[in-house]
């Protein structure tokens, strides 16, 4: 038994091989150790890309450890390769000296040529710098299932459980949770249950008996703060955050949405959770998704619309109206690779400028971003809070990486989160010329500039709102030049006022403000790699500071001051430098963009290299 402090495993195989499932189950048992962990699923855009091809490879990476970790790891230590294509695609990222667990049965001539191999890599010298284990996974799986009554074709499909069993043995994961899960999940399908169970056990036992491996490994439990934990993907956490916000505001949740990868899972999750009074509406398109949400908002629902890149373009006109009417709603953008259809299943942060600027006319809208899978819960609540408090649409940014990956999460005590007060107005707030009480929809709170909001159904508060410019206060249509200017300024001032209410940006600089040689600014999912990178350079004795932005519009009130302490500012983004441009404009600081647009999150090493680069060139 060898002790390791951390391991990165990548399960890779054909889309039909069940790698996501194997990865997910491994994640669950790992969370029970408990190890700290982070995951990175990666799958092709096609539903079923042609079997055996490079395009059809699906993978799941998990990084787990006995200490606090942030990223799913740069390079896997172990690669499970269920077929030649999987090896082909992932070999180059394997750490030097890494382990390859290859399903040797799949390395037949046909599969090799489909993957583009002219000879079998398991046989030549090509892999000599790795530790290669050739395991007949298909054959062993078939044998294990032999007298279970399953057809061989079906039995073969259980080989992911064989692999899972084997890896579970290698890293001394408990077997009971997996066995329990298989039993429950396939309760109604005896043959499949039996095949999966037998294969899983066969894989585990193979490790134990085959004497192929020098030893088992152990990764000691990480020290977690005490509490109850779960493992959650970003999309699930975000959906739950919306439900929690609905409870906190006592406003029913309405989701108007049109399916799009990688946002659809939020719709799926919320559609299931009707016991929370959630109403989900699959609209005919993104415009109607946003429009229906805005209609529901007018009616007093906590209104949300979810989408990804292309949908953001389509919703722009409606969000402009929402900003103009000053009605709360949340627009969730799970960013993916653009422009246009791009690469739908890969991650990017390239919608930031579109959500900040992408509406005609002057229509400022707040923007909040989730920084990790579990943080999506908190970010969702915060987006809803700002929306309701300030009567404004709010963009909530996540991305494909956050959406699909998972991490351990201390369950929050929702009853202790501050409630959201919609503060509906039920009595007239104005007296008209004839002395009659009436309701003026654009009378504002002097501090937040939020307008007083009354709901249909309230007698005596009847009123009309609309997209034409309106008179301050009364809300009547107005073409008055100075009134228009005032309204433009008020809407801007309202969004800027949010800066007063949100927390100042935190500065992580062990030497105090300005102590470090360089400041890294992260936002959204770059948080984890940037934090990890900063830690690494600090470990090398260098001085790097970090500030993470959860609020992209408006910026926290102290951001200018924080940036002002540093001569060198680096802004790593999975785009061509969108936040960086915004910081330069707002604060006239010479922030430099570290850009990566490959559909993948930053690796810690990339951040480390970028920091070393500026420090070295000093």
């Amino acid at each position: 038994m060898k002790e390791l402090d951390q391991v990165v495993i990548r399960f890779a195989g054909d889309s039909g091989d069940g790698m996501q499932l194997a990865g997910n189950r491994f994640t669950v048992v790992t969370s029970l150790i408990p190890n700290d962990l982070a995951t990175l699923p990666d799958f092709p855009a096609e539903i079923r890309a042609p079997a055996g091809t490079v395009a059809g490879v699906s993978s799941f990476q998990i990084h787990f450890s006995d200490h606090d970790i942030l990223t799913p790891g740069d390079k896997p230590d172990v690669l499970v390769a269920m077929n030649p294509a999987a090896l082909k695609v992932h070999l180059s990222s394997l750490a030097p000296g890494g382990v390859i667990l290859a399903n040797v049965d799949a390395f037949d001539e046909r599969s090799l040529s489909k993957a583009g191999y002219s000879s079998n890599p398991l046989e030549g010298d090509e892999l000599s710098s790795y530790r290669v284990y050739k395991i007949p996974m298909t054959k062993l799986t078939l044998e294990a299932c032999k007298d279970a009554g399953v057809k061989p074709r079906d039995a073969e499909r259980s080989k992911n459980f064989f692999a899972l069993g084997l890896v579970s043995w290698m890293y001394t994961r408990p077997v009971e949770p997996t066995i329990d899960w298989i039993q429950k999940r396939f309760a109604s399908n005896e043959l499949v249950r039996e095949a999966n169970l037998r294969s899983f056990k066969a894989g585990y036992n193979f490790g134990e008996t085959a004497e192929l491996f020098e030893s088992q490994y152990e990764v000691a439990p990480a020290t977690f703060r005490s509490g109850t934990y779960t493992s959650v993907t970003g999309n699930t956490a975000l959906a739950w955050g919306l439900i929690a916000a609905s409870r906190l505001a006592k406003m029913p949740l309405f989701l108007g949405s049109y399916p799009i990868t990688p946002a659809s899972d939020i719709l799926h999750e919320l559609a299931k959770l009707k016991e929370f009074g959630v109403k989900t509406f699959q609209a005919e398109d993104e415009i109607a998704g946003a429009g229906s949400a805005l209609g529901a908002a007018f009616g007093g629902s906590l209104a949300v619309t979810t989408t990804s890149g292309p949908g953001i373009d389509l919703k722009a006109e409606t969000i402009g109206l929402a900003a103009h009417l000053e009605l709360p709603m949340v627009i969730v953008d799970i960013q993916r690779v653009g422009p246009s259809t791009g690469i739908p299943t890969k991650t990017e942060q390239s919608d930031l400028s579109a959500v900040v600027y992408g509406r005609h006319g002057e229509s400022p809208v707040p923007v909040v971003a989730a920084m990790s899978p579990s943080h999506a819960f908190e970010a969702a609540i915060e987006a809803c809070r700002i929306a309701v408090k300030y009567r404004t649409p709010v963009y909530l940014l996540s991305d494909g990486y956050i959406a699909n990956s998972s991490e351990p999460w201390t369950l929050p005590d929702v009853s202790r989160i501050e409630p959201i007060d919609p503060n509906f107005l039920e009595e007239p707030n104005h007296v008209d010329d004839e002395g009659k009480p009436s309701y003026w929809p654009y009378i504002r709170d002097p501090e937040t500039f939020a307008r007083q909001w009354a709901l249909p159904g309230t007698p005596g508060m009847e009123h009309r709102v609309g997209g034409l410019e309106h008179q301050d206060g009364s809300g009547s249509v107005s073409y008055d030049p100075l009134n228009h200017e005032k309204m433009v300024q008020l809407r801007q001032a309202k969004v800027e006022a949010i800066a007063k209410a949100i927390p100042p940006v935190g500065l992580n600089d062990p030497d105090g403000p300005g102590g470090a040689d360089v400041l890294l600014v992260s936002w959204g999912s770059t948080y984890s790699a940037v934090m990890a990178g900063v830690k690494r350079v600090r470990a090398r004795g260098m001085k790097a500071a970090m500030a993470h932005l959860m609020y992209l519009n408006p910026f926290p009130a102290n951001l200018g001051e924080v940036l002002g302490h540093y001569r060198k500012i680096l802004v790593p983004e999975i785009n061509s430098g969108q936040l960086c441009t915004m910081l330069r404009a707002a604060y006239l600081v010479d922030a430099q963009s570290i850009s990566k647009v490959q559909g993948l999150p930053f690796k810690t090493a990339e951040i480390e290299a970028a920091i070393m680069d500026v420090i070295d060139n000093d």
């Binding site: 669950v28 969370s31 029970l32 977690f224 005490s226 109850t228 934990y229 779960t230 493992s231 959650v232 699930t236 739950w240 439900i243 409870r247 029913p252 309405f254 009707k274 016991e275 929370f276 009074g277 959630v278 109403k279 509406f281 005919e284 398109d285 415009i287 109607a288 946003a290 429009g291 229906s292 805005l294 209609g295 529901a296 908002a297 007018f298 009616g299 007093g300 629902s301 209104a303 006109e317 409606t318 109206l321 009417l325 369950l411 929702v414 009853s415 008209d432 249909p456 159904g457 007698p459 005596g460 508060m461 009847e462 009123h463 009309r464 709102v465 609309g466 997209g467 009547s476 249509v477």
Partner: protein, 343 residues
């Protein structure tokens, strides 16, 4: 007096339904009579102002909500049914009216329109069809006839227009009616029935734009020729028209509907109008009798059938799940995919 009109507990009259905003349509515009019909009808049936919402898109017609002393949203060109859908699902307690134009509903808003029809969400869509874009000063619309000379078609338009009734029926509409701006009583009746209908009701109103398209409907709506051009559809009655009822609609030997002379076919051969047919085919066939407003044209309720209302169904599913699983518990939700505890 039977049905006492009440809002906030008080009886209302037409003027209670008028907002304090000056009505800004061109003098002589057909929109005025529609406004009057709507206000009167709502007062008559005892609707409640506080539970009534008018949602519109953009266009001359779409200014309508500003003039109603109810809740209202003047929204985005073409998108009123989308907003109304969300509002109706979220708030099944409200009476929701969508006011739209031929451009708003059928050009930019065509998709939301057809989806509203099939979903049968609780809203009454009232389309002011003037066969022109009024607000943008006179371009042709998807209902303009072929050959229309307008600002954007100086050599005549070449697009076959939609027949809004056929389109709605093809999109699975449950309530479809047509009326016109020169007959306030008929408008009121058809609007009232729309209001009573559960689900999406669709009312096309032939509306005169006296500035950009004056008189397009005058054969049907004008007093002089009306008798020969307006075919009244009355449920349960033979379909008959003409100065002296000398014409009618009957199914011919070829199995198809035709305009006939009553004396030729005999009264008994006339088609008895049935708005409640489950199959929309006959209503569709009626909608094809006229190829444009210069031919005898059916006016009235083409179809009125029941189908589950969308917002109700949404609420039912929620209630059923709540009933079965109990009201959701957040703490339990957060634990639902398994937990571990560290002390």
């Amino acid at each position: 007096m039977t049905d006492v009109a009440t809002t906030n507990g008080k009886a209302t009259s037409r003027k209670d339904w008028a907002s304090d905003q000056e009505v800004r349509w061109c003098p002589g515009c057909g929109d005025f009579t529609i406004l009057a019909a709507m206000q009167t009808m709502l007062a008559d049936i005892g609707a409640r102002r506080e539970s009534t919402v008018f949602v519109s898109g953009i266009g001359c017609s779409s200014r309508f909500p500003y003039y109603m002393n109810t809740y209202g949203i003047h929204s985005i060109h073409g998108r009123a049914p989308a907003l109304a859908s969300g509002l109706a699902i979220a708030r099944p307690d409200l009476d929701i009216w969508v006011i739209t134009g031929d451009g708003d509903a059928l050009s930019i808003g065509g998709n939301h329109f057809i989806h509203a029809m099939r979903r049968n969400i609780n809203m009454n869509i009232v389309l002011f069809n003037n066969q022109i874009y009024g607000l943008t000063k006179g371009q042709y619309s998807p209902t303009s006839e072929v050959g229309s000379v307008t600002k954007s078609t100086p050599y005549g338009s070449i697009d076959t227009p939609f027949n809004p009734v056929s389109l709605a029926l093809g999109a699975e509409a449950t309530y479809v009616a047509r009326t016109h701006d020169m007959d306030r009583n008929h408008m009121m009746e058809v609007l009232k029935r729309a209001h009573e209908h559960k689900g999406t009701s669709f009312v096309e109103i032939y509306q005169n734009c006296n500035v950009y398209n004056d008189g397009v409907f005058s054969d049907i709506t004008g007093k002089d020729r009306r008798a020969d051009y307006l075919i009244p559809l009355v449920h349960g009655q033979a379909i008959r028209y003409g100065q002296n009822g000398e014409y009618g609609v009957a199914r011919g030997d070829d199995g198809h509907l035709h305009l006939v002379r009553v004396e030729e076919v005999g009264e008994d051969a006339l088609l008895i109008h049935d708005e409640s047919l489950e199959n929309p085919s006959q209503a569709f066939e009626l909608s094809r009798l006229a190829r444009g407003p210069h031919e005898p044209t059916p006016i009235g309720i083409f179809r009125s059938v029941e189908r589950p209302e969308y917002g109700y169904e949404v609420a039912r599913q929620v209630a059923e799940v709540e009933g079965k699983k109990g009201i959701g518990d957040i703490a339990a939700l957060l634990q639902s995919s398994g937990t571990w505890t560290v002390n």
